[in-house]
């Protein structure tokens, strides 16, 4: 079909929206709520106005381009004086309802609302009614996500992601009129709700309404306290994403620059979570083999992802015996650093502070779980997301892009294998485990290091590996996004599918798409492919590519842990899970009262 935009001929399919046609053909229209990547066009911000004239109707209409389909013979104008004026008024109205204290806002300089205000040429705001937004809530109850609804523009992207991508559906819409806000189901504080802390909602929020819980101050306290020994770890997915915050191309490996930056910040020991990722593989693989040989419940699920653990505990507690008891790499790191490393480096563990840099907001919650705090001493003291780490560096005047790289230099924990690096992508834990399980069972390395059958981006993938006599074929499945995990779980529980080993990562793409990673505007997971390639490239180049071949892992077992699943391992590296299913009891009276208040 053919129509025109700003006098230029455009071609399009039936039912394609004006906005989509305009984007495709290079006509810019400002938007706020729309997000094509998640198929989201709720039409609530009403900023994407255009002038539209239908074929057999002389009248011009102002319509929103995100909800109006292009028709044959339709003529669209995107920049008439009327359109510009109405867009300007729209943003002005939006700001009347917005707690606009940009200078102290987490999104300052990186805000889609600021962008739009500039685009429409807003020069004044005539309407100031603080009670319009001050009645809305600010929720800091979650260790992972902070929600400040006074800044919410009701784009509903967060609701969409939590519902359609994650299948958690923790967010609901409450109230009406000016008090309309995104709330947490059943009026709960976010921290005690269905929310699993994955932070995916933060990645789509166009403004400063959603953000990670900021723990930079605590990290700085330790860095600047001369009595404290700070031990830093950073996760595999940090090195290929941090660069984006400093204008480096997505996927650039800045591992060496991070080490330099941390040292400049005053970190006492700089290490890599990759080391304990290798350790996790040793423990988890042994656990899998033990389960396959004994009659322990199968399939066994991976346990590295705290958002997945939380989802499982809240929704499928009856399956908790199916989850590997091995702690996540972050927690294994804390446990080993405060024992083994402290002993070897002769540091008083009480003075040691472990700070991790993670692509993940849920890791903040994980570090605060009771079982990871012994004698009031947490295994991991502070968790910073990639974004917070970037802010910390900026606050300290450091730009990694300009720093020379350096290398790890620790004799006890300062080495890792390529297998550990791919933990950062979906399928990575599975692939790393297969590399090691194969060796454990057959005493031979896989003929081909890369077990590509589990790679890819489909939300649920299946594979099988033949481990030869005694064990036979082991059936594998990989799921990313919690919605996929829920679907897989339903199939497993109904008996429709059966596996030996299942990897689950809550975030799309795995940790590289974590809720703590750099945000992209108007796009969801925009840098996924580059980050993924970045990780696989590091693995490819790694001198050692299997966890069991990491020399320092071998040393750790010889010198300290003795053997996987041994006595010490059990004490330091394994954990258990709790039933956290929430039972809701509404009375009809409450429900009717709420409905009436809204009527």
């Amino acid at each position: 079909m053919i129509g025109s935009i700003n006098g230029k001929k455009v071609e399009f399919q039936d039912n394609e929206t004006i906005l989509s046609v305009a984007k495709r053909t290079g006509h810019f229209i400002p938007t706020l709520c729309e997000m094509a990547d998640i198929n989201h066009a709720p039409g609530t911000c009403r900023v994407c106005l255009v002038d539209m004239k239908r074929k057999n109707d002389p009248a011009h209409h102002i319509v929103t381009s995100c909800t109006t389909p292009m028709e044959a013979g339709m003529a669209v104008l995107t920049r008439t004086p009327k359109v510009r004026e109405m867009q300007r008024l729209q943003v002005e109205l939006l700001l009347a309802d917005h707690n606009q204290d940009c200078a102290s806002c987490i999104r300052h300089g990186n805000c889609e609302l600021q962008d739009v205000a500039q685009f429409v040429g807003l020069q004044q705001t005539r309407y100031h009614y603080p009670h319009f937004y001050l009645q809305r809530s600010r929720d800091t109850s979650s260790p992972s996500v902070v929600r400040d609804m006074s800044k919410c523009i009701r784009c509903f992207r967060c609701v969409n992601v939590c519902r359609e991508i994650q299948g958690v559906d923790a967010l609901v819409v409450t109230e009406k009129g000016l008090s309309t806000q995104i709330s947490v189901r059943d009026h709960l504080p976010l921290g005690s709700s269905d929310c699993v802390g994955c932070g995916q909602c933060i990645l789509v929020c166009p403004v400063g309404a959603l953000a990670e819980k900021d723990d930079i101050e605590e990290a700085m306290d330790y860095l600047y306290d001369p009595d404290m020994v700070t031990v830093f770890q950073f996760a595999p997915a940090i090195r290929i994403a941090l660069g984006e915050e400093f204008n480096l191309p997505a996927g650039t490996n800045v591992e060496g620059k991070i080490i330099t930056a941390l040292k400049k910040l005053g970190a006492d020991v700089v290490l890599d979570t990759n080391f304990t990722a290798d350790l996790v593989i040793m423990e988890e693989s042994s656990e899998l083999l033990q389960r396959v040989k004994s009659s322990a419940p199968l399939p066994m699920f991976t346990s590295c992802c705290p958002a997945w653990i939380s989802y499982m505990e809240k929704n499928y507690p009856e399956m908790k015996e199916h989850v590997s008891t091995t702690k996540s790499p972050q927690q294994c790191f804390g446990a080993i650093a405060k024992t083994y490393l402290a002993e070897k480096m002769e540091i008083d563990a009480c003075r040691m502070r472990v700070i991790s840099i993670m692509p993940c907001t849920a890791k903040k919650g994980e570090a605060k779980r009771d079982e990871f705090i012994k004698d009031e001493r947490p295994e991991v003291d502070v968790v910073l997301t990639t974004r917070e780490f970037a802010r910390l560096l900026k606050r300290e005047g450091l730009n990694p892009a300009e720093l020379a790289p350096s290398a790890f230099d620790n004799h006890w924990m300062g080495d890792y294998s390529g297998a550990a690096v791919i933990f950062g992508t979906t399928g990575g834990v599975m692939e790393a485990a297969i590399r090691t399980v194969h060796k454990m069972v057959t005493d031979k390395e896989l003929s081909q290091v890369e077990f590509t059958a589990v790679r890819g981006l489909e939300n649920i993938r299946e594979a099988a590996v033949d481990l030869g006599e005694g064990i036979g074929v082991v059936k594998l499945a990989v799921a990313h996004t919690l919605k996929a995990a829920g679907q897989l779980m339903a199939r497993i529980k109904s008996g429709e599918a059966s596996y030996h080993f299942v990897e689950v990562m809550a975030c799309p793409g795995g940790c590289l798409g974590g809720g703590g990673q750099p945000r992209s505007k108007h796009a969801y997971q925009a840098a996924r492919e580059e980050r993924r390639q970045g990780l696989y490239a590091i693995d490819k180049e790694a001198p050692v590519r299997q966890s069991h071949n990491n020399p320092l892992i071998r040393k750790l077992y010889t010198d300290y842990l003795e053997k996987p699943l041994g006595h010490k391992s059990h004490r330091l590296l394994h954990t258990g899970y709790t039933d956290r299913k929430r039972l809701v009891r509404h009375t009809m009276k409450e429900i009717w009262q709420e409905i009436e208040e809204r009527t």
Binding site: N15, T17, P42, G43, T44, C45, R46, V47, L49, M52, R54, D57, H61, I62, V63, T64, T67, T68, P69, E71, M86, L89, Q90, L93, L94, A96, D97, Y127, Y129, F132, I153, R154, F156, V159, R163, E164, D169, L171, V172, V173, T174, E175, K176, G177, L178, S179, T180, R185, R585, H586, T587, M588, K589, I591, W592, E594, I595, R598, T599
Partner: protein, 661 residues
């Protein structure tokens, strides 16, 4: 007849301000606009397309403010212009009515009003400022006079009303867009709560309602009607486990005097809805039922494959959970009488006994005592009650002829197949187009293998020794439509043919089964067409304190109409017991005024909307389902429900009237 002094509707201006009242032309459209209720003249009317002023002394600013207050209260807050714009307009109008404004403010109000009108997301915002804009555009000098005149303005008597086409079409006036909104918002419990405000049988209605709302749905002008019914079923099924808990813990706000006992006769949809609302209002309620099972035609008529009995029973049990008592096997006229009920201390009675007596075809040789002859409703009753519930085997022959074109006939033919009848014929005197049955039902019956004979009618029933052997049929031809639009039919001479059959099932209608009442003694009278006579707005029969509703008043109708009358009956009984009379109900009056202005509205959707097709409901395979009574339609998923809910365009409109008192 009300005379319009000035006003505007869709930018057509009426201005009679310079004329003397008696000179003003009378418009028949406003014949109903004289009084709101007796002795209370309507002074002005406001809607989403404009406004009419019927008396000179109406203050426009105050009328606009009160209208805007309601709009701002109704705004769902999702889109920017309506959420913020209506509030700003409201606060500017407040300033003006307080005397703190200037005429220049009208320009600012107009520019925001124009913006709200053009750029709002849904019908509410799009229409919210139309009347105000017309006022400023065409009658600005009146507004300026008011601004200059005495202030602060005295608030006028104003009644506001918010509705949508689907709500207006629904006999129970279920707030459809609201329960769909709650689905969009992720709050299924609240969604069900909206439905339960009207009746307890949500899952039932979500399965078998005839969907007046969907026929009126504005989305049909874009692509297809919103799946209102399927969404209702979705929330009711999704929340089924909580329903029981809700009501067991429901505290009735204020219990009425235990003396004020009410008796309900019949446990069909009308009786159940009445009992439900009476219980919610705090009355002690006893329900009497002639059969041993509750549910009326929903239980004994509607077949299991469309409405599983346990779904219905669970919803009826709400009555008992709330403290109502149901007495079974108690038939009025046999086991008790109206008089007896009153002397047993009941202060009001609601009759909801339905229409249970089948109508005969009036063919030669027809005799209800013939073996193989069964009325449709009796045939279905035996299947539902004796065969499915109690497991009593039913012996049926190989061939059956069902007569009729409505839903009852469809239920008979589809049930007969499931009972193992090999050859099922449906005979209907008009053509397929005229069939009153749901199009979906006809299609389903065709898929399952029913043989249809349109434009055919039985003339004689052939029997031997009291057993049906065959039926003689004649072809019919369609004439021109008569005044009511229905086309007459006449037999085609010489087209008679004979069909062998073991059964003839007339399913051409039902009437009230007489004998439950002795009109002279009980004082309850009937209409000439055999239904119970009631006053329209109070549902009171000719006997004081006795009310009636449902099929026994309307003649065979639908579940939701029966439930609507049940609710109305409960409200009227409450009024009767509290005030001794049934009061004026402003909502019903507003609803009538809204209906009056509909012809003035061009209902077209003149801006293209992106097409999103309606959810497809999965069905059991016809070859499997025709052998069993398992429910045919499968539930939709949560994802599908979210998607379907997004299709609703929220066609809310705000209306208001300014009245004398």
């Amino acid at each position: 007849m009300a005379k319009v002094i000035f006003g505007a509707w869709d930018n057509a201006v009426i201005d009679n301000r310079r004329k003397k009242v008696f000179e003003i032309e009378e418009y028949p459209e406003f014949s109903d606009f004289d009084e709101f209720n007796p002795g209370n003249p309507i002074k002005a009317f406001f809607g989403g397309h404009g406004f009419f002023i019927f008396e000179k002394n109406v203050n426009l600013l105050d009328a606009a403010l009160q209208y805007m207050e309601r709009v701002a209260r109704e705004s769902c807050g999702k889109c920017t212009p309506c959420r913020v714009g209506t509030q700003i307009i409201k606060s500017k109008l407040e300033l003006l009515t307080r005397g703190d404004g200037t005429p220049e403010m009208l320009d600012e109000i107009a520019s925001i009003a124009e913006h709200v009108h053009t750029t709002s997301l849904c019908g509410l915002g799009q229409t919210a400022t139309v009347a105000l804009l017309e006022m400023i555009r065409y009658f600005r000098e009146t507004l300026e006079e008011e601004i200059a005149g005495a202030t602060p303005v005295v608030r006028q008597h104003c009644t506001t009303y918010v509705s949508a086409p689907c709500i207006e079409a629904c006999p129970s006036k279920v707030d459809v867009p609201r329960y769909i909104d709650y689905i969009k918002d992720g709050k299924f419990t609240h969604s069900l709560g909206v439905i339960l405000q009207k009746y307890p049988m949500a899952a039932t209605c979500g399965r078998v309602c005839v969907r007046f709302c969907e026929m009126a749905c504005r989305r049909t002008q874009v692509d297809e009607a919103v799946g209102i019914k399927v969404l209702k079923r979705f929330v009711a099924d999704h929340e089924q486990d909580v329903t029981h808990d809700w009501f067991s813990s429901y505290m009735i706000p204020e219990k009425k005097d235990p003396d004020l006992k009410v008796a309900v006769v019949g446990t069909g949809p009308a009786g159940i809805a009445a009992a439900y609302h009476l219980l919610l209002k705090g009355y002690p309620v006893d329900v009497y039922e002639a059969k041993s099972v509750p549910g009326g035609m929903a239980a004994t008529g509607i077949p299991e494959y469309r409405l599983p009995n346990d779904v219905l029973n669970k919803e009826i049990s709400i009555i008992e959970t709330m403290g109502g008592q149901i007495f079974y096997n108690r038939r009025m006229g046999r086991d008790f009488t109206v008089k007896g009920l009153f002397s047993n201390g009941y202060k009001a009675i609601f009759l909801a006994i339905g229409t249970h007596k089948g109508k005969m075809i009036r063919a030669a040789g027809e005799d209800p005592h013939l073996k193989g002859y069964d009325f449709g409703v009796d045939f279905l009753l035996r299947i539902n009650h004796d065969y499915i519930d109690k497991g009593i085997p039913m012996k049926l022959g190989k061939k059956m002829v069902v007569v009729g074109g409505g839903n009852v006939a469809m239920d008979c033919v589809r049930s007969a197949l499931r009972m193992g009848v090999k050859e099922v014929h449906l005979v209907y005197r008009r053509s397929q187009n005229e069939m009153p049955a749901d199009h979906e039902e006809v299609e389903a019956a065709e898929k399952e293998g029913v043989i249809f004979h349109f434009l055919t009618h039985p003339t004689r029933i052939v029997s031997e020794e009291g057993t049906i052997k065959a039926v003689e049929l004649v072809k019919m031809s369609l004439g021109d439509p008569d005044e009511s639009g229905r086309r007459s039919v006449t037999p085609v001479d010489g087209s008679e043919f004979v069909l062998d059959t073991d059964h003839v099932i007339p399913a051409i209608g039902q009437k009230v089964e007489l004998g439950f009442i002795t009109p002279d003694e009980d004082g309850v009278a009937f209409n000439s067409w055999g239904t119970i006579k009631v006053k329209n707005d109070s549902l009171m029969t000719t006997r004081k304190g006795v009310f009636a509703g449902g099929d026994c008043v309307t003649g065979p109708a639908t579940l939701v109409q029966a439930m609507a009358q049940g609710e109305q009956g409960a409200r009227c009984i409450d009024d009767y017991l509290t005030f001794g009379r049934v009061r004026f109900f402003p909502k019903d009056r507003m609803s009538r005024l809204v209906a009056d202005v509909q012809p003035m509205i061009d209902s077209g959707v003149n801006i293209p909307v992106k097409h999103e097709y309606r959810v497809k409901v999965r069905e059991l395979d016809p070859d499997v389902r025709k052998q069993i009574f398992e429910e045919v339609e499968k539930p939709i998923s949560v994802e599908e429900a979210y998607h379907e809910a997004q299709r609703c365009m929220r066609c809310y409109r705000v209306y208001s009237v300014i009245t004398e008192q």
